[in-house]
C-alpha cells in the first residue's frame, strides 16, 4: 500500500509494571505485567539485586507510539533496570503526533532503584515526549542515567529537525527536588552548533543520583570526570542530589566514559548484564 501521508499507520502501544520486594536473601519479583510491545527479561541475579531488562519488541519507537512503565520498589528492595540495546526513535511525518514514553517509579524506605538504559538514538525528523517521574522516600536511593544521541556522526547522520521533550521529575519525602527538563522544538545542526547549546556535540547525557550520600561523594568524583577535545563532563551536588552532565562527539566513547564513572558511583557493583560489548 502506498503511504500517502494521510492514512493512519499502525502504532505500537506498550505497558509494563513491575514490583520488587526484599526477602531475607535477595530482591525478588512481587508482581509483573507486560502488554503490547513491552517485555521485561530477568537475567540471572547477581549481588542480591534484581535486574530487569526492558525490551521493545516493535524494534524502535515511531511517531504516535505510546509506552507506559511503572516500577515499584518496596522497603529494602534493590532493582536495576537496563535496556537490551540502544533505543531508536524514527522519523515522523509532519502530521504525526509525537511518540510518548511515560515512566513512573515509587521507591520505599531504604530501597534502591537504578535506571541505567543504553543510549537513545534520535533519527532526523523524530518527535518524542518522554516523562520520567519518581516518588521516593528520604532513606531510599535513586540513580538515573540517560544518554541521547542526536544523529550519529560515525554514520554521517546529522539533525535537521528533531522535536524533543525529556522530563525527569523527582519528589523526595514528598518534596519536589528535581525538574530536569530538556526541551527543544527543533533540534538542528545550526542550533546544536551554538556554543551555549552544544558546540556541535550530538551526544547529551544526564546522570542524577539521589541519596543521603550523594553530596559528600562529589569531591572524590570530580577528578574522575573526563574532559578532552571530544567530551565535556561537569558535576554539581545540592539538595541531596549529585548531578553529572556531559556532551560528547561520539556515542560509543561516551558509554565507555560513563561506565568508568558508574563503577565509582555504584561502589564497584556488577555492571548491567547487557552492558558487556
Amino acid at each position: 500500500m502506498v503511504n500517502n501521508g494521510t492514512n493512519t499507520l499502525q502504532r505500537a502501544l506498550g505497558k509494563f509494571a513491575l514490583e520488587v520486594q526484599a526477602s531475607t536473601k535477595a530482591s525478588r519479583l512481587a508482581s509483573l505485567r507486560q502488554e503490547g510491545c513491552c517485555r521485561l527479561l530477568f537475567p540471572y541475579p547477581k549481588d542480591h539485586i534484581l535486574e530487569a531488562v526492558t525490551v521493545n519488541i516493535s524494534g524502535g519507537i515511531a511517531a504516535g507510539d505510546q509506552i507506559e512503565g511503572f516500577l515499584q520498589c518496596h522497603p529494602n528492595a534493590h532493582l536495576l533496570v537496563t535496556s537490551q540495546a540502544a533505543e531508536r526513535i524514527y522519523k515522523a511525518r509532519s502530521t504525526d503526533k509525537a511518540a510518548t514514553v511515560n515512566t513512573e517509579c515509587k521507591i520505599a524506605e531504604n530501597a534502591i532503584l537504578e535506571w541505567l538504559p543504553h543510549s537513545s538514538i534520535f533519527f532526523d525528523g523524530s518527535k518524542i515526549q518522554r516523562k520520567f517521574a519518581v516518588d521516593m522516600a528520604d532513606s531510599s536511593e535513586f540513580l538515573f542515567l540517560e544518554s541521547r544521541i542526536f544523529g550519529r556522526q560515525a554514520f554521517n547522520e546529522s539533525a535537521s529537525h528533531i522535536s524533543f521533550y525529556d522530563r525527569l521529575s523527582i519528589r523526595r519525602g514528598n518534596k519536589l527536588i528535581m525538574e530536569d527538563i530538556i526541551q527543544l522544538d527543533t533540534i538542528n545542526r545550526r542550533l546544536l552548533s551554538l556554543k551555549a547549546v552544544s558546540q556541535g556535540r550530538p551526544v547529551l547525557s544526564t546522570l542524577v543520583w539521589v541519596s543521603p550520600l550523594a553530596e559528600e561523594k562529589l569531591a572524590e568524583l570530580r577528578p574522575l570526570l573526563p574532559n578532552d577535545h571530544n567530551s565535556e563532563f561537569a558535576a554539581s551536588a545540592w539538595n541531596h542530589m549529585l548531578v553529572i552532565r556531559s556532551l560528547s562527539s561520539n556515542g560509543r566513547e561516551n558509554e565507555k566514559q560513563w561506565r568508568r564513572l558508574l563503577h565509582f558511583i555504584r561502589h564497584n557493583r556488577s555492571e548491567p548484564s547487557t552492558w558487556r560489548f
Binding site: L184, L194, V197, E232, W238
Partner: protein, 224 residues
C-alpha cells in the same frame, strides 16, 4: 500625561530593576566567568550570541515563564507550586544559590513597600528571583508582558555587567551589547506568553555545564 499612580508604579520599577537595588546581583555571573575563562565568550559578538541562546532556548527563557506564572498565581498554593518548581529546575548548585539568594534578598528589600505579605504557611518556601519579581511586579500594577521584559532586563544587564568586568569590555561595547539584545528580550518574552511550568526546560547545555564548571574554577571574582 500618565496619572500620578502610574508614575509612582514606574518609579518603583526603576528602583527594583536597578543594579543598585540590594539583591547582590554584582556577585553572580550565571556561569559566565567560566565561559569567558574558557574562551567561549571573547567580545560583543560572542556575548550577544550566547545571551540570545539563553533567552530563546535556555535558563532565561525558563525564568520568564516562572515570572509569568508567579505573576498570574492567585493563591498561596499556586505561589508555592511555582516557587518549588523553579527551585527544582536549577541546573546546578550555583544556579540554585544564585536564584534563591537574589530572590530572597529582593523580597526582603521590597518589604519596605509592604506590597506582599508572606502567609505563615509559606515559611519553608525558597524564593527564586523571577518568582519574587513576578509577585511584586504584579502587586505594583505592572502588566504581565512588561513585568516579564523587566525581569529579563535584570538578568541580561547582570550578565552584560559581569562580561564588562570579565572579558573585559569597554563601557561603549557593553552598551552596544545591550542595544543588540533589546529586541531579542522583547521577542523572546513574547514567545513565553501562555507557557506553563512544564513548558520550561533548558536547551543550553554548555551554559548549564559552565555553571557546574565554575564551582571548581581556580580564580573567581563571582560567586557563580
Amino acid at each position: 500625561m500618565p496619572s500620578s499612580s502610574e508614575s509612582l508604579h514606574l518609579l518603583r520599577m526603576f528602583s527594583w530593576i536597578s543594579p543598585a537595588f540590594p539583591t547582590g546581583s554584582y556577585a553572580y555571573s550565571h556561569g559566565l566567568e567560566w565561559s569567558v575563562d574558557n574562551g567561549d565568550i571573547t567580545d560583543v559578538a560572542s556575548l550577544v550570541i550566547w545571551v540570545k541562546a539563553l533567552l530563546y532556548y535556555g535558563s532565561l527563557r525558563s525564568d520568564m515563564i516562572f515570572l509569568r506564572q508567579a505573576w498570574a498565581a492567585s493563591s498561596s498554593q499556586e505561589i508555592r507550586q511555582v516557587a518549588e518548581f523553579a527551585c527544582a529546575s536549577a541546573a546546578s548548585r550555583e544556579r540554585y544559590e544564585e536564584t534563591v539568594n537574589q530572590g530572597e534578598a529582593f523580597l526582603k528589600a521590597t518589604d519596605i513597600w509592604a506590597l506582599f505579605k508572606k502567609d505563615p504557611d509559606m515559611a519553608d518556601i525558597r524564593w527564586p528571583l523571577p518568582v519574587a519579581q513576578g509577585i511584586l511586579f504584579r502587586r505594583n500594577h505592572m502588566e504581565q508582558d512588561l513585568s516579564t521584559i523587566s525581569g529579563a532586563y535584570v538578568a541580561v544587564s547582570g550578565i552584560i555587567s559581569a562580561a564588562l568586568r570579565l572579558i573585559p569590555l569597554g563601557q561603549s561595547d557593553s552598551l552596544k551589547a545591550m542595544k543588540q539584545l533589546e529586541h531579542h528580550i522583547i521577542r523572546s518574552a513574547a514567545k513565553t506568553r501562555g507557557k506553563k511550568l512544564e513548558d520550561t526546560g533548558s536547551g543550553c547545555f554548555r551554559s548549564d555545564l559552565a555553571s557546574m564548571q565554575h564551582e571548581i574554577q581556580q580564580t573567581r571574582l563571582f560567586r557563580t
